[in-house]
Amino acid sequence: MSTMWNDKAPVAAAPSAAAFDAWRVRADFPALRQTVRGRPLIYLDNAASTHKPKVVIDTVARFYSEEYSNVHRGVHYLSQLATDLYEDARRTAQQFLNARREEEIVFVRGTTEAINLVAQTFGRSKLGPGDEIIVSAIEHHANIVPWQMICREKGATLRVIPIDEHGELILDAFEPMLSERTKLVSIVHVSNALGTVNPVKEIIEIAHRHGVPVLVDGAQSVQHMPVDVQELDCDFFALSGHKIYGPTGIGVLYGKKALLDDMPPYQGGGDMILSVSFERTVYNDVPFKFEAGTPNIAGAIGLAAALKYFRSLDIAAIAAHENELLEYATRKLEAIDALRIIGTATHKASVISFTLCAVHPHDIGTILDQHGIAVRAGHHCAQPVMQHFGIPATARASFSFYNTMEDVDALAHGIESVLEVFT
């Protein structure tokens, strides 16, 4: 298993792996220093949300202490300063994703809002009766429900690329699904429930051959691998700030400018207009057309600090370290007889979903918590995935670059103690 950080060239266990010092970067994260239930915190719920480096916390605090004002409207000093910082944050996100233009970066609350925005604007204006949207069987509910809502409204159909027993897409089934009725493919880059890394570049190439645009849900990918939206040639890309070491309530929708220009506004209000009268309102240009009302200014600035922090680390070394964690944890957990790993794709991010014979994931989670180990237990907002594997839920350990081999040992030890309670 390897963490795939580029669709064409999976990274081999890079020599820089040894150079990555998880203990050193841990010092950047104040939350990791705490004890939980009398034990040092072992945080393995990074796919749900990541902790924040001090530079992000400090940036947000400084903004509110010294630089705060509303954006885009004041002539006074602080308003100009806040506007500059907010628009700088947009450029940071643009560079991070290698978008061609900064107008292609729309600030949203997170991936969920990004997908809803595309569903309610692009979807609403393009879909008609009989049209189709294609998603996959390993989507998060956030990439299912917005499409169901707009499909129901428009009489369109949601179609699903199937997966196999490893949790990999059956790609051969995909191309025959495309037709002139297909208006969009919306696909997850990395599965939150299984860790599967989807071959999104290949999917985009296939879809584009049929003239169909593609949205990539990057909520679980950008924190593990470099993403270049021009290289991928995706039409939309969505990410959540809080999963890449930034604040909650901020995320990015990237969209190709021609598509964004063509889409009607999302919400109405201030900032998204050029002029308003009761007879006629002229909408602002992108990205402002999609950012009605006062935005999450501090969130965007905090996100920029997180992206800069992340970029300052050696991303190839991060990928190699996370891959080592994944391989080590997979080995350790596979050695436990009663344990079954759910999701065994060839290309996985550092996410391990598992079940324990006769022990419900919630009981696993509760007992691990008493050891100070934070994992996720449940359906991970991906109930169709659970249905595919015939299970109600899994326990999930998801690793960040700040996790260590010792964390994996603690997890394995914790699982043994779960089994002791239940046997």
Binding site: H362, T366, Q370, Q383, P392
Partner: protein, 150 residues
């Protein structure tokens, strides 16, 4: 780890492993689903009445040890109880798992239900323990829609 032993008492582990009355009931007077959307616990409860008395309770479905043991023990305890007795136990049980009522003061009345007193130390698990009871309560109240913890 004492809290873990308080939560997962022997009687709870036993009922989880060997749930009693764990089957479908063909001639049920009342059938109601209980669902916890947060964790996916999902059970169907069957009640058969003999006048004012609950003649039989059974259930099927899946969920965590706490919810399954709670369902199993509830099914055993309610058999032969009158409706108002069942409602009284519902109040008592939800009281002890939320910490509103001290279990020690009702030991005789609670019987095996006292094993769930440890749940009060685990707020996120309260809904697991109460799901079967809320569903049963809903059935007694004549609800015929699914009972959800959310």
């Amino acid at each position: 780890m004492d809290e873990i032993r308080d939560l997962y008492q022997e009687v709870i582990l036993d009922h989880n492993k060997h749930p009693r009355n764990f089957h479908k009931m063909e001639n049920a007077d009342s059938t109601l689903d209980g669902y916890n959307p947060l964790c996916g616990d999902h059970y169907t409860f069957y009640l058969r009445f003999d006048g004012d008395v609950i003649a039989e309770v059974s259930f099927e479905g899946s969920g965590c040890a706490i919810s399954k043991a709670s369902a199993s023990i509830m099914s055993a305890i309610l058999k032969g109880k009158k409706r108002d007795e069942a409602e009284r136990l519902f109040e008592l049980f939800t009281g002890i798992v939320t910490g509103r009522i001290a279990a020690e003061e009702h030991i005789a009345e609670l019987g095996k239900l006292a094993a769930f007193a440890g749940v009060a130390e685990f707020p996120v698990r309260v809904k697991c323990a109460t799901l079967p009871w809320h569903t049963m309560h809903g059935a007694l109240q004549g609800e015929n829609d699914k009972v959800s913890t959310e």
